[in-house]
Each structure stands twice: as C-alpha cells, then as structure tokens.
Amino acid sequence: MKLFRIDQEEWNRFLESLRNDMEVCQISEREHPFKEKLLPPKETLFYYRKDTPKQKEILNTKKRLFVGLSPCDAKTKQLLDLNFLSEPYPDPYYKALRDNTWVITKACQDFEPYCFCDQIGDSPAKLNGADGILYDLGESYHLLLDNEMLIQKLEEFGKSGESIENEDSSYEKGKIPSRNLAPLPIEPLKKNLLSQINNQELWEQIESTCLSCGACTFLCPACYCFDIQDTSYGRAGKRERIYDSCMFKSYTAEASGHNPRPTGKERWRQRLLHKFSYYPTLYGEIGCTGCGRCIKACPSKIDIREAIKHAAKYCG
C-alpha cells in the first residue's frame, strides 16, 4: 500500500498514460450501481448452433480501470466475489470481468440524503477493497494505491510514494463528512432474523405498501440474482443472462402454477433475510453497501433503514 501526492493535472496525465494498456472510465454519476460493470444487465454467455451441437463461449477479458466511483460502490466487488467466486462452481464470466477490472474510488465529500454507509459500520472514505482511493485536497489529491500493478505504473510515470501500513494511518484525507447518526441495528438481524420467519405481523408491516416492482433490486449494488434466457435467429442463437428480481411474483413461480413465495410478504422476507441473515451466515458480510439507491428508487418510498430498525425490534 503506497500513498502518493498528485495534483489534478498530473493525475489526468497519468490516466491518459494508462489508456495504452486499458480502458479508463471516469464515473461521476451515482444513479447507476457499479455492479453493472461486473455483472452487466445483459451478458452473452455463449453462442450456439441450433442445427449442430456447436457452441462458442464469450469471456470478456478487456482490461478496464474505473475511476471516481464512491467507496461504497467498491464494496460491490467484494460482495459479488463472495457469491460468484464461491466453490464448487466459480463463475467464469464474472471472474473474467472482475479479474480484468481495477477500481480507484474517490472519498465522498458529502452525504446524500439517502445514503447510510456510516450507519452500517462503513465510512465514506474507506478503501473497501478497491485498488486505490483518491482524497480530494482541493488543488491536489492524496492517492492511496493498494495494487502492485498500479503502483508500478505510477512510479514509472515518475511519482514516488510513501509506503503505508494500512488505510487507517494518519495522513491528510481532505474533507471527510461525518454526521451523528446512530448505527443501524445490524447485529441482532444477523443473529436472530431467521427466527422471525413466521412472524406474519412483522413482514406484513414491512411489506404493506410494497408494489412488487424491481426498482430496488435492479439498482442495488449487492443484488445479483439473474435469469438465463435464449435468443435465437435463424440457425443460431445465444444464451444470455439478465437481471431478475426477488421482488417479482414470477421470480419463483413454477411451471406447475405452484409458487413458493406467493405474496409480497415472502418476497420481502427473502430480500431482507438474504441481505442481513443469509449473506452473513454464508460469507460473514451483510449484502448491503449503504448506498441508499433502493430508498431513492422506491416508488412508495419504503426505507430499508426503517425496515432494519423495525425488524430489529423483534430480534432482541
């Protein structure tokens, strides 16, 4: 891990110099989650022939560097890794994309009304597994890099950095916002939410105004559920994976007509349990980055922070 002081002009020239080796994308908008780069809304898995058993897999190994996203979005990679790289079947498509993706985030200088990373034990200035993070010092940046390849490139570019133990070491980080909000009661959920599966009252209250659209999950940086479908034309076709949402009625509906999650209550239960119970049970991390996009996107303004607090009341 190395810390560099770099001014804006140098930084831009450095990015320019990287363009020979990889695609460099500056991300400034926050509307869309970073997961779209690692798990595209539509991804071709393979092409096939319909008349003969022939197929061709498509692995995307283009090198890409993403710069400027929020630290919470870097967490996407950590969280998706847990699912997609898990044994016994590491996902080759995800692996190809993520292995060729580098991320340099930019510490947030403001909270948006909806975000709550500080309430789930994160901070708007944390590295979160990114390859680097920029701290805005006005005219220049402090750039903390945690990736050998990028450190080497920057040193070749002519900057020298100072080795640093870890990201908590003291150095100037510019304006890091803070606010006094009580942390969300995640721990009780991790431990006891599963015991509440039959608590009709709880799920009914949380779900009462949900419309069962997929806006929250499509925009959630940690939701990864997908569907696989075929598209064909003439004698050939392709198999694609596309987003799906646990909030849709059709998500679990079986061809026989049976639906294991027939109403919104079961579907909300699944969403909350998946993020705050199953994910911690399986991988030790909650499936939430605190970005707040789900709150912003919800047509009926259901607030996951309140759902967490509400559920925690039952979880002791």
Binding site: P41, K42, D110, E112, P113, S208, T209, L211, S212, C213, G214, A215, T217, F218, L219, D227, Q229, T231, E240, I242, Y243, D244, S245, F248, S250, A255, G264, K296, A297, P299, S300, K301, I302, D303
Partner: protein
C-alpha cells in the same frame, strides 16, 4: 395554517369518523417520512391516524393498494386522479362501489422529484405554501416556479377534485388554465420523423425493465402480464432497444381508454424515462377521436371496449374514398 395542514386535519377527522362508524377496517393513506415526503401507509386503527397526512409529495397512486386489500372493508384517500382510477377500476368490475369508502381531497398537484433533482440536485422540502414550494439543496434554499416543480400530469390536470367520494376534506383545489401536456404533445408531433424516432429511442434505451411503471399503475392489475407470459414468449426480458420499445408502447397502449393520467408510472420510473409524452398523446387521441375520457362516470365501458358506428375512419378503402 397552510393548505396541506388544513387538509391533513380534515382528513384525520374524517378518517376517525369512518373508523368509528365501523365503515372501514383499514385506511389507505399517506404519512410523512422523516425526509418530509408523503409515503403510502396502511392505517389499521384509529390510534394510528395521528400520522395520517397530506402534502405535495403524495406522488403514488393509492388505488394500487385496493387490489392488495380487496377482501377488506377499505377506506382510501383520493384526490381527483385517484378517484378516477377507482371509477375506472369499478367500471372494469374490479370492486363494488359499496366496498370502498372514499375520502376525497381537493388536489393542488404533486411535485415531480425528478424534475427538481435534475435542476437542483439532491434536495429536501422546506415549506409548502399555496402557491410556492421551498426546497433546500446543496447550494442553499430555493423558492420555485410552479412549472419547475409540479409534475406534468398535474400541470394539465382537468379534474383536481374527486369525481366520487363518501367524505370530502376541506380545501381548495388548483385549477389549471393551460394544458401543459397538450403543449408537449403538439411539440413532439411537430418534430420531423427522424427526430421523433430519435427521441423515442433515447427514452426507450434508458429502460432497465424493472417494471416499476407497471407496478405503480392501478390499471395494470393483470394476473400475468404479457411480458411474463411464457408461451408464447412475446418478448425478451433483456433490456434492449426493440424489446424495451415494445414493452413500453404495449403497456401504454393497454391503458388506452383506461388511463386517468395520474402520472404515477412516470414518477415511479427510476431511470427518468419520459413516459408522459407518450401517454398524453394516447389520452388526447382517445378524447379527440372518440370523445372518451377515462374514469369520469360510473357504469361506463372503457373507451376501447365500445364503439360508435360512425367513429372516425382512416382506413384505406373506406366508403366514399
């Protein structure tokens, strides 16, 4: 006391009465979130009614929840467009008039968060007076022009007062003099062909197929939507240009003669697709060609479920051509 507070008080009073007279088991209404937004809430008892409220951010169409609580005696807070949705739903045989208690609100219009956000970035609402809205943004406090904050559907609303109701809250509705969407439609109609398709394509390419528009619409109550039909598989669920276009055009067309132009779908879209310019066109055509406006009167068939022998005829080969 401003309009919203007056309506809020009046609503609480009426709702209490409805509960106490045992007319309703639950009430579909709004409460105010900590950020100041009106969000839907299901009130199940008189005790909860203290948080029943009303303001300019009541953007969702509450008639949606009538489907969800069909088996109960339901009360619902309804301004003009929502009462029209209820009428349209009753005309389609979804509910009986005597199963739903409607508490009417004279509506002043609801704000378009996305429009404000596009202009000023993230914001919170500070004050709402009769004719002005103040918002707090990163760059300070703002008082805004009507056209910059009201949703386009509200800027052309002809029926701000509920068309049917059992109780009516006190307040004054906002009358529209210029039909804003009419202007939008005329502008879009006047575009040359290439620009029309370019505009349409740009809008459609934004779609992520989350179906928030469908779910936010009380008229989209089909058990299985045509996109979810598996055989025949009408269209791919993958977001791409033509499938998105087919999805949106067909969804909108399925609302022909049924849409009350509440704008809930447009406000629900997380990708800011301009759905209103398409919907407005269809509604204006339905009115101009067939003289039909949805949800005004009980006992009327939806516009496309009926016909007149002398309807306008553009077909090739019609008599006398």
């Amino acid at each position: 006391m401003n309009q919203n507070d007056q309506i809020t008080l009046s609503l609480q009073l009426l709702a209490r009465k409805a509960f106490e007279e045992d007319k309703i088991e639950l009430l579909i209404g709004f409460e105010i979130s900590p950020d100041g937004y009106a969000r839907p809430r299901i009130f199940r008892s008189v005790e909860e009614l203290d948080s029943l409220a009303w303001n300019h951010t009541a953007s969702i169409n509450l008639a949606n929840y009538l489907h969800k609580y069909k088996d109960k005696k339901v009360g619902i807070i309804a301004q003009g467009c929502i009462s029209r949705s209820i009428v349209a739903l009753m005309n389609e045989g979804q509910f009986d008039r005597n199963k739903v208690i409607i508490i009417g609100v004279p509506c002043q219009g609801v704000i378009d968060e996305k429009k404000i956000r596009a202009e000023y970035g993230e914001f919170t609402i500070l004050l709402e007076e009769e004719d002005e809205i103040g918002i707090k943004t990163h760059s300070g406090e703002q008082i805004m022009e009507e056209e910059n904050y009201f949703h386009s559907a509200c800027l052309s609303c002809q029926y701000p007062d509920p068309v049917i109701y059992d109780y009516l809250a006190e307040g004054k509705s906002r009358k529209v003099t210029v039909d804003y969407l009419d202007k939008i439609v005329k502008e879009a109609e006047a575009l040359p062909e290439e620009e029309k398709i370019a505009k349409f394509t740009t809008e459609m390419e934004k779609c992520i197929r989350c179906y928030a528009c469908r779910q936010a619409c009380p008229m989209c109550y089909c058990d299985t939507c045509f996109v979810d039909v598996n055989s025949p598989k009408w269209l791919s669920n993958a977001p791409n240009k033509t499938d998105n276009s087919i999805w949106n055009i067909t969804r909108i067309f399925h609302l022909a003669g049924r849409c009350v132009e509440c704008g809930a779908c447009d406000r629900a879209c997380p990708e800011n697709i301009d759905l209103m310019y398409l919907i407005a066109k269809m509604n204006r055509d339905t009115k101009d060609l067939f003289g039909f406006t949805a949800g005004l009167k009980l006992g009327v068939k939806p516009g496309l479920n009926t016909f007149q022998p002398n309807d306008p005829d553009f077909f090739w080969g019609k008599e006398g051509v």
